[in-house]
Amino acid sequence: MKQEQTTSEIDTTTVFGSKELGMRGFAALIKTLDSTNKTNVKVQALTDYFLAASNKDKVWTIAILSHRRPPRPVNTTLLREWASELANIPLWLFEESYHIVGDLAETIALIVPSSKTSTEKTLTQFLEEMIALKKKSDDDKKTYLFENWKVLDYYERFVFTKLITGGFRIGVSQKLMTRALAKATEIDEDILAYKLMGNWDPNTITFQELIIEENESDYLSKPYPFYLAYAIEGEPEDLGDVSLWSAEHKWDGIRSQVILRNDELFVWSRGEELVTDKYPEFNQFKTTIPNGTVIDGEILPYIDGQIGTFNDLQTRIGRKTVSKALLKKVPVVLKAYDILEWEGNDIRNKPFTERRAILEKLYQKTDNLNIPFHLSETMHFSSWEEVAKERERSREMFSEGLMLKRKDSPYLVGRKKGDWWKWKVDPLTIDAVLTYAMRGHGRRSNLFTDYTFALWNENDEGEKELVTFAKAYSGLTDAEFRKVDAWIKRNTLERFGPVRSVTPHHVFEIAFEGIALSKRHKSGVATRFPRILRWRKDKSIHEANSLDDLKSMIP
């Protein structure tokens, strides 16, 4: 532990040596975060940055790391065109490189001519320029990009382009950033998590307002940090006396908080996104659920009196605004798990059973109103065997398994062990034949690691043929991938651009979470999260499963 701290001290004294960290310091931070797998090194680097950066840059850093970036000032089509122009390569070659590198900003930073110079500007200056850039002409945008690409060094160029394209995913969760911010400011981590939620604009808010000040009116839309459960380790019996536990099904939708305050409705999804406008059916809550109420639940598709599949819900998630037709086709409900605020009071510290009693009373009051407010039923068992039996029913209940919650548990913040556990059903598995392969991304771009798998099916002539059913690109070790890659290269039948068909020969066990009928898939079946469980070297292709075997798994 002690040694890790020295690491980052050394890193940061060289990196954060200058007075104003600016963009250079931010790029150095991203580089450090990017080049370690160790959580404590990341937290220390962030803490050091927060201690040294200017208040304005800090606000922007918090915004960026919590995915609140300004709207994209340049569309990616233009970015690609201009980057290939500056690199003096044809656009197709840019696209091929992008396909292999796998990240647009990284591709651009790599292919444009390299520069050894660096910038003196602050992070805030760059973001203000980007906000202003959105309204400018294409010519001005191009000039701006070229000027910056030419003078920034590799990491600054990458970060600069990343700010334009958006989506900073660098292995730093909001929780990790909050922990570092707590270390730097000596403000309690949970309080910070609360402050950072909701709608705030990094362009107008100050560090003082966002982090330091207490400001009641800001809290109107703010959700509570979600309490997340860990997957159960070992046997459920290890949890002790079954009578201390409450069980309920784990629904497969969008974990959400519905907030009613001051006659206003706010719907937050677990990614801490405000999604109120996507679910207009919840507007009915404004007149039926009292102010000062916050409910934790799952948004689920509910079609003809039955819970739909995640595939159904997908059609709703993608849209910013929802058409009347879609609203009719895939209506949603809130399946309530818990209540966090009641009559304007934060009741997260009350025991689970007390909170549930309040929630159930509220539910009963609205039961005859026909509003999209459902209750996730809690169940109490007298033995763990009974719990296990209920878990077996999960698929027919359209759930992913069970949630086990201690009856006396408070509603905690974030992912904490002890009081809540998820006990998912084991994944479904099927043995399938490798039929197509494509090169992977990044490091794996020289290897064929993206595979397509097929199952046997009888065609109209009564002949058995292989029908594609899923793609998967994870689950094998590096050594296994290399072996399969070498085999693919020697057993290619045909090439279709980047894709190769291979001799049907190898059988793999594929695991997946959910399964549903689908018109969009050739096999007529869609699987959720397919991945390779293991290489069945012991099986010949004739021992692989059939499409009928797969269909029989549909609940």
Binding site: Q3, T6, T7, I10, D34, S35, T36, N37, A87, I89, P90, W92, L93, E96, S97, I100, V101, G102, D103, E106, T107, L110, I111, S114, F158, G171, H441, G442, R443, R444, S445, N446, L447, D478, A479, R482, K483, A486, W487, K489, R490, T503, H505, S540, I541, H542
Partner: protein
């Protein structure tokens, strides 16, 4: 139609006029070998011809073989076809193979790089009509920095780790990369320890190149004596119990693949140094131009992309399937061995 001077067969690159194979991947009678990496010099040929600096390498790797060594530029004829070997700059003893018959000249690069690494004889462009080139890093995303800068960074990294009382573990392929790293490690910082595979290969090469002193890690080596020093290990040792015993340590990899941010992270390595024994994008393009060749055949790497680009630049370029791969990946015999196939 006249047969081409070199053909791509299921055994390797074949010169029908001379009945000789270049870097064949299946056992043949007579093989001319570009260099000592496992994917280019395989076991089982009746006769091997290669540069004399490669003789100790392949003898070490393949054991008892019938091999004869040649000098740079020395011509030798087989059935009236004239062959000669020219420096490829890839690793010690790596050659391009020049083939001349009836006024037509073909050059096969094996693997090559344009930067002078100070231990391999530097690459020389050879005029030819047809140029058979590798293109492992044939994408514009690959741009190498001069090795001096990379080695300064590596030595700085070692110094920093030492200041924290940690052992530095640096991964590099046991033939080529490991010796290139070894040559430029600053022995004023500390001692250089080696993994057995690297130590053995380095011993083979010591008569050819002046290398710093190395200490082989054995069962008797105490982990305390490693602290602050550096360990050179092949990439296959990553994650092994052999490595885990060395805590506290910091790992790094030196490879062209470290260009990609994701590469280091996916392999769970602490630090990546971009250092390659192959050409980068510009290196490939300038080499091709310098040969004056009109016909280009791309053998391994990003062949489809690279040959398409060459065609757009006016070359008659195409791709041929070979069984050469990235030797930095295939570090153990187990990983280079073909899969047992049991087709029904």
């Amino acid at each position: 139609m006249k047969k081409p001077l070199l053909e791509f067969t299921d055994k390797g690159i074949y010169c029908g006029a001379a009945k000789v194979y270049l870097d064949p991947w299946k056992p043949v009678d007579k093989a001319i070998i570009s260099h000592g990496h496992a994917d280019h010099s395989r076991w089982g040929h009746e006769q091997y011809i290669t540069h004399h600096r490669n003789v100790p390498i392949i003898s070490h790797r393949l054991g008892e073989i019938n091999v004869s060594g040649r000098e740079w530029g020395e011509s030798f004829t087989v059935n009236n076809v004239k062959f000669s070997l020219h420096p490829a700059g890839h690793i010690i003893g790596s050659s391009q193979i020049r083939v001349e018959h009836k006024g037509e000249v073909w050059v096969f690069t094996g693997d090559y790089k344009t930067e002078n690494d100070g231990i391999s004889t530097p690459y020389e462009p050879i005029k030819c009509d047809t140029f058979i080139t590798e293109c492992t890093f044939g994408l514009p995303a690959f741009k190498w920095t001069p090795q001096q800068e990379v080695f300064e960074n590596i030595n700085q990294w070692w110094t920093d780790n030492q200041a924290e009382g940690k052992t530095s573990i640096l991964f590099g392929y046991s033939l080529g990369k490991a010796q290139r790293l070894l040559k430029y490690l600053d022995t004023d910082i500390g001692k250089i320890y080696t993994h057995g595979a690297i130590e053995n290969m380095t011993q083979v090469l010591r008569p050819l190149v002046d290398f710093p002193e190395t200490t082989l890690i054995t069962k008797e080596t105490k982990k305390e004596e490693l602290l602050g020093n550096i360990v050179l290990a092949p990439p296959s040792a990553h994650g092994s119990t052999w490595i885990r015993k060395m805590v506290p340590y910091v790992t790094a990899s030196a490879s062209g693949w470290m260009t990609f941010r994701g590469a280091r992270r996916r392999r769970a390595i602490d630090k990546g140094f971009v250092l390659s024994d192959h050409c980068d994008w510009q290196g490939l393009l300038s080499s091709i131009e310098a040969t004056g060749a009109e016909k280009i055949i791309c053998t391994h790497g990003y062949t489809e992309i690279f040959s398409r680009y060459l065609r757009e630049q006016g070359y008659d370029a195409r791709t041929e399937e070979t069984q050469y791969g990235d030797e930095e990946d295939s570090t153990t015999p187990e990983e280079t061995a073909p899969l047992e196939t049991q087709t029904p």
